[in-house]
């Protein structure tokens, strides 16, 4: 018979973390930990040596990820992670550069870089943690905050319609577009691992509880309650029409998850390093690899 739990002082993921910096600054019930764990595992699973992985973040709670992962990592300015990553990648194509940042960082102030990096099909992976608000600054309206939601800057309810992230990123030309929640850790990790190994601009939206900035003010409760909400309301549909996957986080709403887009487009090659092949625009969504096919939440 095995013992019950064994008390230890190190975690098996510690080597891929800057464990000297733990505990991290994130609130109890925050989903950033699991998102980072999935990324850390995917790095180790990837065919690329850990030393060639680079993580670039902007500013925000999510932006702190770069500081906790034990890979070469950059915590840049608010919104500028993608162009910073572009410079890294183009200047040293051997690197595997992943941008890991928040919805506000990547889609509010940083939206323009998303637009053009995806259009150019720069060979980087972008992981966006969507917690429906600006967590770091204390729970303000962000571009993904659902209509009518309360934040500290929408005390009367949000008058704006939120961004449908997968729809936009797919329209921009990303070659891989997925959405998972931090409850769907296995699918998330798989999707990240797949994206890391795929050439071109690959993108994963990660829905994540932020009890302080979003959950509590909007009667979703604590982290665990938002996780329960994910469990109850999520459906997985890789082939969902992307214009229909917007999120409103209302009690009856559905969260559509999946590996929505998986296609080939020529990857950006600056002239001179190699003459680029003729590029064709492929607009069909076809999740290709069975390995990243969706499964139900555990």
């Amino acid at each position: 018979m095995c013992p019950r739990e064994i008390v230890v002082s190190d975690h098996k993921l510690d080597p891929i973390l800057r464990s000297d910096r733990l505990p991290h600054i994130w609130c109890p019930g925050c989903g950033l930990g699991p998102a980072m764990a999935c990324f850390a595992n995917a790095i180790q699973e990837s065919d690329i040596p850990v030393d060639k992985h680079v993580c670039v973040s902007g500013i925000g709670c999510t932006g702190r990820v770069a500081g906790y992962l034990n890979v070469d990592s950059f915590h840049t300015t608010h919104g500028r992670a993608i162009p910073f990553a572009t410079g890294l990648k183009l200047s040293n194509p051997d690197l595997k550069v992943t941008v890991f940042s928040g919805d506000g960082d990547l889609f509010a102030i940083g939206g323009n870089h998303m637009l053009h990096a995806a259009r150019r099909n720069i060979d980087i992976t972008v992981i966006c943690v969507n917690n429906f608000n600006y967590g770091m600054t204390g729970g303000q309206l962000g571009p993904t905050t659902p209509y009518a939601a309360r934040t500290t800057t929408t005390p009367y309810g949000n008058p704006e319609g939120p961004l449908n992230i997968p729809h936009l990123v797919a329209a921009l030309g990303a070659v891989f577009v997925a959405r998972w929640t931090v409850l769907h850790v296995r699918q998330l990790q798989k999707a990240i691992a797949y994206a890391l190994n795929k050439e071109g601009f690959t993108f994963i939206e990660v829905l994540s509880p932020c009890p302080v900035g979003f959950g509590r003010p909007n009667d979703l409760g604590d982290g665990i309650d938002e996780m329960q909400f994910y469990r109850q309301q999520s459906i997985v549909d890789d082939r969902a029409p992307l214009e229909s996957v917007g999120i409103d986080m209302s009690k009856e709403s559905t969260l559509v998850l999946g590996n929505f887009v998986d296609r080939e487009r020529p990857v950006y090659q600056p002239m001179g390093t190699e003459p680029p092949e003729q590029r064709e625009q492929t607009a069909v969504y076809h999740p290709a690899d069975p390995e990243v096919k969706a499964r139900e939440a555990p």
Binding site: R18, R21, D51, K52, V54, V56, I59, A66, G67, N70, V71, D72, S73, F74, H75, T76, T77, G79, R80, I82, P83, F84, A85, T86, G87, L88, K89, L90, S91, N92, D94, L95, N112, H113, L115, H116, P270, M271, G272, T273
Partner: protein, 398 residues
């Protein structure tokens, strides 16, 4: 031209080229391998030249979506070990300010060229000014180190661009080439030496040793920490937050003060290496024209005119604008010199001259759009000379 890529870096020979092109060729000769930029008059020719030249040597030219992205890409590229640069003008320079601060604070070497045009705002896009000099010093928030060179000829567009790259790597800091439209758009003879004639400072790398314990912000006594490259196993962390020597965020005032002071201290310490000035007929000068960039050409001409009239006027040309060569100004002031500062702005570097000279200066200003003529400068200098001799200096200063 040879088919060997290596050879194509340095366009050895005598050329008749404009200042912007010479700047681009300076970058090529310096081994720049990454340009991230966005077109803007009157710097566009730098981008256009590098778009053609960099691919010839396997370098990267990328036109980013805006200047915010341009400077960010340049910083990223620098951490791979590349020499990277961007070029812009006033409006783009304004947009770059936030990430210039990131570059300075994370000690990321790179070169930023500003070919100045008439401002503020869109101003006079195709015409000359020198009104971004103070912005170069103070444009981003917080206190941070600034190095800026001011070319006054096409040859200097080449030479100072090479120097800027060397100084950036030497000091681990962004370096500005503060050119102006008149220089960027004029065409002159430029002589490019062969490769062996191009100085090349190698960026200090961490010593061999355990990669894991590396402190990428430990200055090792020299005030300039060695700079690791990404992808080499150092597992570095770089942040725009206040950080300790390991590069990790620190939220305490003491670490902040120490870091900010070290960055400022780097420049103080290396000022003798950074600072270049040219002195023209200064031995016996009683009135000193302090000038830089295209205006210094008019000033030099004014010196010739005035010397012909027998007036003891000289010129101190600021090749380095920042750090400001204040000690030399102070020395000259003590010697009894009076200062006339011609600039294509409402008086920017004149403020620094005044501070170090501990006396008001006579300013010759035009807000921009055309060069000051030698006659305009000479006239004021003549008057200054009279007043200086009559000890009625204050009468003509405001």
């Amino acid at each position: 031209m040879s088919e060997n890529k290596e050879d194509r870096h340095v366009l050895t020979g005598r050329h008749f080229m404009n200042g912007d092109t010479a700047c681009a060729e300076g970058a090529m000769a310096a081994g720049c391998s990454f340009f991230g930029g966005y077109p803007i008059t009157p710097s566009t020719e730098i981008a256009e030249r590098l778009a053609r030249r960099l691919p010839e040597v396997g370098g990267v030219y990328i036109q980013m979506e805006d200047e915010l992205a341009s400077i960010a890409s340049v910083l990223g590229a620098s951490w791979t070990g590349a020499r990277s640069m961007t070029a812009t003008s006033g409006p783009g320079f304004s947009l770059m300010q936030e990430n210039i601060g990131l570059g300075a604070f994370t000690e990321t070497p790179c070169v930023i060229v500003n070919v100045q045009r008439g401002g503020p705002s869109t101003g006079l896009p195709t015409l000359v000014s020198q009104a971004d000099m103070m912005q170069a010093r103070w444009g981003s928030h917080g206190d941070y180190p600034v190095v800026a060179y001011c070319p006054a000829s096409c040859q200097e567009m080449f030479d100072l661009t090479v120097l800027a790259f060397n100084m950036a790597d030497r000091l681990r800091t962004p370096v500005f080439v503060m050119a102006d439209e008149a220089i960027g758009h004029m065409t002159e003879r430029v002589v490019i030496p062969d490769k062996s004639g191009i100085e090349h400072v190698v960026r200090k790398r961490p010593h061999a040793g355990p990669m894991d314990g590396l402190l990428p912000y430990e200055a090792e006594g020299s005030m300039v920490p060695p700079m690791p490259r990404v992808g080499r196993g150092y597992r570095i962390h770089v942040t725009g937050l206040t950080h300790d020597e390991r590069g990790y965020p620190a939220t305490d005032a003491a670490t902040h003060d120490q870091l900010v002071r070290r960055l400022a201290g780097k420049l103080t310490r290396f000022a003798p290496e950074i600072i270049r000035i040219e002195e023209v007929q200064m031995e016996d000068a009683e009135v000193v024209l302090v000038a830089y960039g295209s205006t210094s050409r008019s000033a030099r001409h004014a010196v010739t005119i005035l010397r012909e009239e027998g007036l003891p006027v000289g010129m101190l040309r600021l090749i380095t604008a920042w750090p400001f060569p204040g000690d030399r100004i102070a020395q000259l002031a003590e010697r009894g010199c009076r200062f006339v500062v011609p600039e294509l702005n409402l008086g920017q570097m004149a403020l620094e001259v005044e501070r170090y000279a501990r006396q008001p200066t006579t300013r010759v200003n035009h807000a921009g759009g055309q060069s000051l003529t030698p006659d305009q400068i000479a006239e004021v200098a003549r008057e200054a000379m009279t007043c200086a001799r009559e000890k009625s200096w204050s009468a003509i200063t405001s």
